[in-house]
């Protein structure tokens, strides 16, 4: 297991957003978290990446406890994410957004920028090349000079994934990556995520599009009102009474 989460909890005042959730993430797997609106999925992600500190519980990453670390430390450990509501650097170019993502891998900072020494120049060149390669991969290379805010919605999502990948993570957290995408784009996304797994990346994904998840995920965790109500393969989840009642059941109403 690359990540193990035990009894993770987060309250907002009296509201319990996430309650004693356990989750074990196998290395190289695609793991999905699903659930109806307000199930606490995004809060769960925010707690993992320390954007919102959790109230209690443990998160173990490659044998190391990380629930008390800052967001930048977590990022340095090899965990990257995208956001449900896209959070690109709107007034930066597409390329710059991705270069920003490479930040972790480069050491020379103030001193390097002042002296422009050999290492600094090499690193700058490397990060630029790496960023271009990633843009190539998501199909945005031609638009590298545009302001991020000028891209259409679906491409902004792709860019956010490229930026997350720029930090060369071991775990990629995707928060509703298919939201706002058309069918063709969703299919491309599915292929893309599979390709990432083939490269050895572990993916934790929140998604509303059940069809996408059922075809993609190795394992699925279902949250409802902050509580984990089921976990298993796609087939197991589809036949789980509780899930049908809480989630799929609601849809039929």
């Amino acid at each position: 297991m690359i990540m193990e989460i035990a009894k993770l909890e987060k309250h907002f005042g009296g509201l319990v957003a996430v309650q004693e959730v356990d989750l074990a993430l196998a290395a190289g797997s695609i793991h999905a978290v699903i659930g109806p609106n307000g199930a606490g999925k995004t809060t769960f992600f925010n707690a993992i990446t320390s954007i919102i500190p959790c109230d209690s519980g443990q998160i173990t990453w490659k044998g190391e406890r990380i629930e008390k670390l800052s967001p930048q430390s977590i990022s340095a450990k090899g965990i990257a994410r995208t956001f449900q509501n896209i959070r690109l650097f709107a007034f930066m170019s597409v390329l710059e957004n991705v270069i920003a993502g490479t930040h972790n891998h480069f050491r020379s900072f103030v001193w390097g920028a002042l002296t422009r020494n050999a290492r600094y120049r090499r690193e700058e060149k490397e990060s630029r090349e790496m960023a271009m390669a990633l843009l190539e991969k998501v199909g945005l290379a031609e638009k590298h000079a545009e302001y991020a805010r000028n891209l259409p919605y679906g491409e902004q999502r792709k860019l956010e994934i490229a930026r997350a990948l720029a930090s060369r993570p071991d775990l990629l957290l995707l928060d509703e990556p298919a939201a706002g995408m058309n069918n063709t784009e969703t299919e491309e996304l599915e292929q893309f995520i599979r390709a990432l797994r083939a490269e050895g990346l572990t993916v934790l994904i929140i998604e509303h599009d059940v069809k996408l998840i059922m075809g993609l995920a190795d394992r699925i965790t279902v949250l409802d009102h902050g509580v984990k109500i089921a976990e298993g393969t796609a087939a197991e989840i589809q036949n789980n009474e509780k899930v049908i009642e809480a989630y799929l059941g609601k849809r039929r109403v």
């Binding site: 990446t49 954007i51 800052s70 967001p71 930048q72 977590i74 990022s75 340095a76 990257a80 994410r81 956001f83 959070r87 690109l88 650097f89 709107a90 007034f91 930066m92 710059e96 270069i99 920003a100 993502g101 930040h103 972790n104 480069f106 900072f109 103030v110 920028a113 690193e123 700058e124 990060s127 930026r163 930090s167």
Partner: protein
């Protein structure tokens, strides 16, 4: 005399523009105004004065001294007024910087006594005369320094990773921290840089006006802020534009109206823009 006033305006505008950039840096990062900026400028001027009076009569060394003192004071203000106050309402930080402004001013009067100190002249000879207008070497040097500083900052922000980090933090510090950027460090760095710039300009102004005193920062700070709001406080090009325009308008208002209206014109611009166009001439689109 129109040309002479325009030249005076450009020289003074260089000073305004550089202070305005200091305001832009802090605004871009924290959406905050550091009202002690004028006092950082004043302390820089004292540092430069001390150097030329007691160490070496070298203006370059004096400018570096102003830069260093400004860096240190800027760093300190960030730690007290912003970092320590994170999480409390913005207004507390704002009031704290106003407090700093008074504190630093009184500190300087206590340390150096309140009387005006005389700063020696440098490069004050007339470089050339053009249509009855005299242009001194120092005026040329000031404009050149201002332009070079602006170019350097543009390179820093748009051609280096450190600049990318500053811009990323300015745009969205939470996301930036997820990219592994050390938000505190970047903020502190940009704050110190804005202070250093103010301290540097303080030495330049002291040389131009031949005077250093504890209360010199107040008006300078206000004019720099006005220039920033005028041009567009969200961006460095805006701050520069505002600085030069304000310098020209002020000096020409003396020519066409009366010197008594000079500050009035500036503050009228400040209030008008704050009310009707808070994003300045360049507007919202321009970003740090």
């Amino acid at each position: 005399m129109f040309l002479q006033q325009l030249i005076n305006g450009l020289a003074q505008g260089s000073l305004f523009a550089l202070i305005a950039i200091s305001f832009s840096l802090v605004w871009g990062l924290l959406r905050m105004v550091n009202f002690a900026m004028g006092e950082v400028y004043m302390l820089g001027a004292y540092a430069g004065w001390l150097v030329v009076m007691y160490a070496t009569p070298n203006l370059g060394v004096a400018l570096v001294a102003g830069f260093v003192i400004g860096w240190i004071v800027g760093w300190f203000i960030e730690k007290v007024a912003f970092k320590a106050m994170r999480g409390v309402p913005h207004i507390a930080s704002l009031v704290c910087t106003i407090g700093f402004s008074f504190f630093l001013k009184e500190l300087a009067s206590a340390l150096f006594r309140a009387e005006t100190k005389s700063m020696p002249s440098y490069y004050s000879d007339t470089a050339f005369t053009f249509a009855e207008a005299n242009i001194s070497y120092l005026q040329i040097i000031m404009v050149v320094i201002a332009v070079v500083m602006m170019v350097l900052l543009q390179i820093l922000f748009y051609r280096t990773k450190i600049g990318l980090a500053v811009r990323a933090v300015a745009l969205d510090y939470r996301t930036a921290s997820l990219m592994g950027m050390k938000v505190d460090r970047v903020t502190s760095l940009a704050f110190s840089l804005s202070g250093a710039l103010a301290g540097f300009v303080g030495v330049l102004a002291a040389t131009y006006y031949n005077a250093v005193n504890a209360s010199m920062g107040f008006v300078a700070g206000l004019k720099g802020f006005t220039a920033a709001v005028f041009g567009g406080i969200t961006s460095i090009p805006g701050a520069i534009l505002g600085g030069y325009l304000l310098g020209a308008i002020e000096n020409l208002s003396v020519k066409y109206m009366s010197s008594g209206y000079r500050d009035l014109v500036s503050y009228f611009i400040l209030i008008t823009f704050l009310l009707f166009r808070p994003n300045g001439i360049l507007g919202k689109k321009a970003k740090l």
